[in-house]
Symmetry: C2
């Protein structure tokens, strides 16, 4: 038993070395995966060797042949682990998903059109059909995602950005989320609402990659030894997720290059160039398959761009048109910032209006239904929709907007006939300019509103279409202004409004997402690169304007959702060089020393909730030896105060008592002591609370009080590490996770041991005075260190580069402070000063009362609760001088 | 005086904090820049305020107006520092440079053609003119660069890659190098040799950025306070250089997106996405201006692509053609690897053949001339050149190769007539296939050979053209095979060989440079993106093949030149996860302890030449407190042993002597002691060398021996930091830099002090036993630390991310080892196993004997020399137990 423990411990230590930034949840998850996979692996290896042996003995006809087959199979299985096979599979899978989703969406949209067309006799029925259909679909989508996996709501890019930074968001990469996202997205887009599929596809691709990785680990290959190689899977997973993001964009638009670049810009802070090929490889393969499927389905004759344009090549634009393109860029910049602002404003408005919020909380599907009703009513083609081409789906609008013909021929539509869908833009009473303006304005707020609906949806495509419409508007105006083109030489080159639409689309989507690579996406989408310079100029101008006004849509959502992400340093981040770490660091560092006692440990654990704590040589020398995870310390403490140890103590005491009893026979007074519990406890508390300032409303002994009183079905968000000592692991579980089976047993008193509450408190007090034994503790011997004079800029770089959570500030080996992500974020935001983003996650009130929530909020709750309870205990125990204030004095 | 020192010291300390990876040279350079700029700044500020004051008092008519002007001017000047203005200026400048260089090259090439055409009557004269012209130009280019700035030789991308990693290569970013590079490149390309301008343009753009930055610092703005803001300029310069690399490629090909991506792939390991916009902005502006210049020059009607193609848009290629594209990709992969190998082989061959090498060393312009003669003879159009379109320049070849018409119409050139330059491919006797094959084969080795010429030149463009020719060959073969296209349906879509040429160009250049972004460059160069999928597939396949066979051309050059760069981890780097830091670290760490004496310091300095040394608490505890730069320790040591202190000691002794003499008058024995120097010294050495094993051939006292005996004109490569103590700074200079003025004075004996060599040695021995005072030493309190179990993969990532030079390996605060770039490189190369790259830099023998060399080789020489001399001294002193062996035992 002891030997086993020892081995387990060594193993753990081996694993733990070199983990700098790993979070608790991630570790627990990996550990669980390791254990599970060990369970899976062992029999399979045994089985295989057994079958080989059997074959060796089998002297039948084709024994050799069979052996050969088995060997080949083994070889193939080992190959399965290669990156490129994984990437091909991922690309293939995503292409299929993308194509199927597109197909389903097309059918949904066709069904609506068919319904609408079939009821042409009765306008009211027509309206009912037109409106009911999307409301039902959106409501279903919202309800389905809500029930199956609320994590599937929204774009997914902000979450992927956070995950790629190294933060583990639980439940974001599970099969349930995958199903919810795919089906929810299909329904949401099938409703014809102004929503996009690009953001969700990034999430779906990441889900695919995570699931594929899990699936392939069943086959073995390099997936077989996750525990032996330690860091491998961690970094490999990040690499694969980055590639998956590229695949997501790539197969959504059949734009491999743009996909890779967009995903890099949107999800990464620092990009490892060695991962470049992964993204390109997978995205190209995916885009290829996606387009090949279209060819096989006879939609296309050969592989071409998704929204192919046919602008003239010889003279794509005149140099003198460039100012118009620049205007589009600048206006798009303002428009993009406005979109982000509007989107956030809507979320904020709903949050602030408490009556609305309360009402929506009760009927959580009402909001999506109402929004859908509003939007679809306004786009009803015989109604207001006729003035804004409401009949067209998003795709059709885009195709018509990118058309290479000019719509407005000097006011009168003389020779030009609107073919097919372009007809929608040509209203008999209203000018094409009015139609375009109405389209832009209405779609603008509709898109901003629609993207707040809690369904899987993106905002890229709607914004792209709005941008195209705006570009078209400018282009048509230019064409009307210069009917024969600007060029003054012999040949007449008329202005191509479609080119303006391309520029506008790239500029507005670039402004909203703060990316430059929308330019590349546009080239790949249209299959023409002739407008490269206007597009680049417009996109850069749009970015310049938008970035100076608002955060990107994804950063805005990150802030709204309060995801643990570090904001970027702004464009003009010169003043950041003047801020030093010493200006922002917390001098009041929580630390423990090598020779501290459990009471210090417990005080330190109460005082803050940093994930790791500094281990110093002594509080005099302040020399930093390393850092210890909070959970490790909690394990140590719970081991010291836990029931097993108490039971042991009781056993010892009982033995002593027995001995004593065997000498003097005397009846016990257990019943009486249990009865006076309340009084005695209160007495103690008043006695000791004279030292503390806060009143103690509810007095419970330390351990039972740690239990959360009222949560019935907590989601399995918090994973505790499998602690080296099995018994302490159990105790830890008791400390944090409410086990429904044991909850009933230990209600208010510890019925299963023989101590009174007072005795327990006393015993705990004694235990706390013992010195801590760090021997079995996993210590990270090289936590990241900065010096006081490190600039904010450098700190930001290092934090983003290494995905740090916190760093210690030292001066010649002596700890003088600590900087965590929070301080850094505060310091950056303090100067960047983006207002009005500190709101709650969209419709989070729905989730708080729901069955499952996000891990971050829960763990926060838990921490607060723990804190409160510890505080109560603290007021019971003797007040001690705060260690941290010590260190503060020293560091100053 | 003391107060001044104190202030200087504090200032220095303020500056030093937080410098982790800064190299000595960089620091010295910055320091020098700071001092210089401080000198510049102060008067200008004073002047400005004075002029304002004057104006305030001046009550003339337009005083207010003038004040306003001055204020506006000030405002504008402060704006000048903004990044975007810098980037615009950089883009503008580079566009102009690119255009002017192109223009000059075009004139040069036209002149050759004109000469060739004018001498049509006499073939011999024609040959002479054809051959002499490039030989003269190349020889001039080689000679010019050699004389002005040998750093301008070659591509420049490997050097930029190294510089962007944080290594300071001296003289690579000076005005001289700029001039040499621009003029050398123009001449080299004007000769018509198969050389490219892309690599050099990356270097030129970086030079431009560095010079522009320097130039703008004269105006003030944010450039004004480099010293106050510390790290700012360092990181800003790196950011700007990264943007400059993008501009270089962007303005060379008018390909902004491709330029940014290519420069990222080629120069970065980890790319900061926040720098993305800089590259895009500057490259777009640059490409725009570059193309606008062409429009203004009436070369073009409007802005279009550089090598515009006119492939059909509706059916660019058939799905069934994809295997042919894949074949191009795979073959290009092998071709690319072969090119890199061939290029390296040629360099190696010249190196190994000692007779050739010796001969070339004497006549250093002979090699370029010979190579040029060979190449231009073979391309002589009436000679062999007629079979390989030798008449065409590189640009013309490319234009014809990308032509959208098919050359081979079933053997007989029936209806098709070769228009213009395409004529060159249509030899009357020889098939077009033979011409293409000859072109490919000949150009292949010619390009590999030509790029070894020591002139500023790149290999991208020649490779690009060869790739296009190869693609064309495949395309023409396909067209001959399927004259009516592969498509079986109604319409006939003939095969477009030009599309194959595009694919081939991208694939081969991608294979040679190991980049995927050549695909984007190709789209931007041709202005058509219709072949995106074939291009992407071919480029990825080519990369896959080439990367598994050879390093990229730039990495190959880096290894040939032995630049301090960390090789990439290979594609299939799975085994890297199994190597731990403990397997590769040096356990025998050089360290100093807080309580060590100067002798330990000096022993440690002798034992290795790491740039920084670990400072431990004590050799028992081994707790790492920080690291100290070698130069700091040298300064401490030289302060202790230096002449000022000796003189002080002499003064003290003299005072004492005087006192003694004043009591007892007695004649001195100085002359005698000087005469017996040799004997006495020898006696000491034999006496003490009985403890040491090595014989001591030449005995000189410590300090004078430190001087380098024979170097007359050393380049100012080694910059010593301005030490806090002025006097120690001087001593340090004496220790390392041979000052021609003082050299004559102190020849073998210290003539200006009154000590004999023996006395000096004794005095030094005494001094060495004193304890070191680290008070005035700049200590980096947080050097980068790893733990034993950190994987090689993670170590590599951290080293590349942070640009580290070395990292300490600690275990709970205790130092157990050190890993430097060298060990890491060895560990990676040990498994990657690229053979035959450890050769000397191309024609480095020329440089060694020249007036100036690269800093790295010189500092190495110096270190070795210092080492030797110290060794001699060591053998004189008492042998002491080696400290490092101590640590080794402890760590095991």
């Amino acid at each position: 038993m002891a030997g086993d423990d020892q081995r387990a411990l060594q193993y753990e230590q081996t694993l733990m070395y070199g983990r700098y930034t790993q979070e608790l949840g991630a570790y627990a998850k990996e550990e669980a995966a390791r254990l599970r996979e060990e369970g899976v692996r062992r029999p399979s290896v045994k089985e295989r060797s057994r079958s080989l042996e059997l074959l060796e003995y089998d002297r039948g006809r084709c024994a050799k042949c069979r052996i050969c087959t088995v060997r080949c199979q083994k070889f193939l299985i080992s190959r399965v682990g290669e990156d490129w096979i994984f990437l091909i599979l991922l690309g293939l899978l995503m292409a299929l998903v993308s194509w199927v989703v597109d197909f389903a969406i097309a059918i949904c949209l066709q069904a609506q059109k068919w319904m609408y067309g079939g009821l042409e006799s009765n306008v009211f029925l027509q309206y009912l059909a037109w409106v009911t259909y999307p409301v039902v679909l959106i409501t279903f989508s919202a309800g389905f995602t809500q029930i199956l996996a609320p994590q599937a709501v929204g774009s997914g890019i902000p979450e992927m950005k956070t995950i790629l930074r190294g933060v583990v968001l639980k439940e974001y990469l599970t099969f349930k989320t995958f199903v919810a996202k795919v089906i929810g997205l299909t329904c949401a887009l099938g409703s014809g609402m102004p929503l996009g599929k690009e953001g969700p596809f990034v999430h779906i691709a990441s889900l695919c990659a995570a699931l594929l990785s899990k699936f392939m680990s069943l086959f073995g290959g390099i997936y077989e030894e996750p525990s032996l190689i330690g860091n491998k899977n961690e970094s490999r997973n990040i690499e694969m997720l980055a590639a998956a993001c590229a695949v997501g964009v790539g197969c959504c638009f059949a734009a491999p290059i743009g996909g890779v670049l967009f995903s890099i810009e949107v999800t990464s802070t620092f990009f490892a160039v060695r991962n470049y090929w992964r993204g390109f490889f997978a995205a190209t393969f995916s885009a290829f398959i996606f387009r090949v499927l279209a060819v096989w389905n006879r939609d296309e004759e050969t592989i071409t761009a998704l929204f192919k344009t046919r602008f003239r090549l010889d003279f794509p634009f005149d140099l003198q048109e460039l100012p118009a393109f620049a205007v589009i860029g600048i206006a798009s910049g303002f428009g993009g910032a406005l979109f982000v602002y509007l989107n956030r404003l809507i979320v904020q408005f709903i949050r602030k209006q408490k009556t609305i919020n309360k009402f929506l909380m009760k009927k959580r599907l009402l909001y999506p239904a109402l929004v859908t009703l509003l939007v679809s009513t306004l786009t009803f083609p015989p109604g207001f929709g006729q003035f804004m081409a409401g009949k067209l789906t998003q795709k059709e609008s885009l195709v018509t907007l990118l058309d290479n013909r000019t719509w407005a021929k000097q006011g009168i539509a003389e020779g030009f006939d609107y073919i097919g869908n372009s007809q929608a833009w040509n209203h008999p009473q209203v000018n094409v300019f009015v139609t375009l303006v109405l389209f832009i304005v209405m779609k603008f707020w509709m898109s901003a509103l629609a993207t707040t609906i809690p369904v899987p949806c993106g905002a890229f495509m709607p914004v792209f279409v709005i941008g195209a419409a705006f570009g078209r508007l400018v282009g048509e105006s230019m064409a009307a202004w210069f009917p024969d083109g600007i060029h003054s030489d012999g040949t007449i080159y008329p202005i191509v409004p479609g080119g303006y639409a391309v520029v506008g689309a790239a500029a507005l989507s670039g402004a909203v997402t703060h990316t430059v690579s929308t330019a590349v996406i546009v080239f790949e989408l249209t299959g023409q690169i002739s407008h490269i310079l206007p597009v680049m100029i417009a996109v850069i101008l749009a970015n310049a304007v938008a970035q100076s006004l608002q955060p990107s849509l994804y950063d805005s959502i990150i802030r709204i959702k309060k995801l643990p992400y570090l904001p970027e340093l702004g464009w003009g981040h010169h003043e950041k060089y003047n801020i030093r770490v010493e200006d922002i660091m917390i001098r009041d560092v929580m630390y423990i020393t090598l020779n501290c006692c459990y009471r210090d440990l417990h005080d330190v654990l109460l005082a803050g909730h940093l994930k790791t704590l500094a281990l110093l040589e002594s509080s005099e020398s302040m020399i930093l030896l390393g850092s210890i995870e909070r959970a490790q310390l909690q394990a140590l403490l719970s081991l010291q105060l836990g029931r097993p140890r108490r039971l042991e103590y009781l056993r010892d005491r009982a033995t002593a008592e027995m001995k004593r009893l065997s000498m003097i026979s005397h009846p016990g007074s257990e019943d009486g002591s249990q009865r006076v519990n309340q009084e005695v406890r209160f007495q103690i508390s008043t006695e000791e609370s004279s030292f503390s300032s806060t009143p103690t409303p509810s007095m419970k002994p330390l351990k039972p009080a740690l239990k959360r009183p009222s949560v019935v079905d907590r989601p399995p968000d918090i994973h505790m590490p499998t602690s080296p000592q099995d018994h302490s692991g159990n105790t830890l579980k008791n400390l944090f996770c409410v086990n429904p089976e044991t909850e009933g047993l230990e209600d208010d008193f510890d019925v299963d041991d023989d101590m009174t509450i007072r005795e327990i408190a006393e015993w705990e007090e004694n235990q706390l005075d013992e010195q801590v034994n760090f021997d079995n503790c996993k210590i990270d011997p090289a936590p990241f260190q900065l010096v006081e004079r490190t600039s904010l800029h450098k700190t930001h770089t290092i934090f983003s580069l290494l995905g740090l959570d916190h760093a210690y500030v030292t001066s010649i080996g002596r700890l003088i402070g600590v900087v965590s992500l929070k301080e850094l974020r505060k310091a950056i935001e303090g100067s960047v000063a983006v207002k009005g983003v500190k709101v709650r996650p969209p419709l989070s009130s729905f989730r708080d009362s729901g069955t499952s929530g996000t891990s971050s909020s829960n763990s926060e709750n838990e921490a607060t609760e723990l804190h409160k309870l510890w505080d109560r205990h603290k007021s019971m125990s003797l007040p001690r001088e705060h260690l941290a204030s010590d260190s503060d004095e020293k560091s100053q």
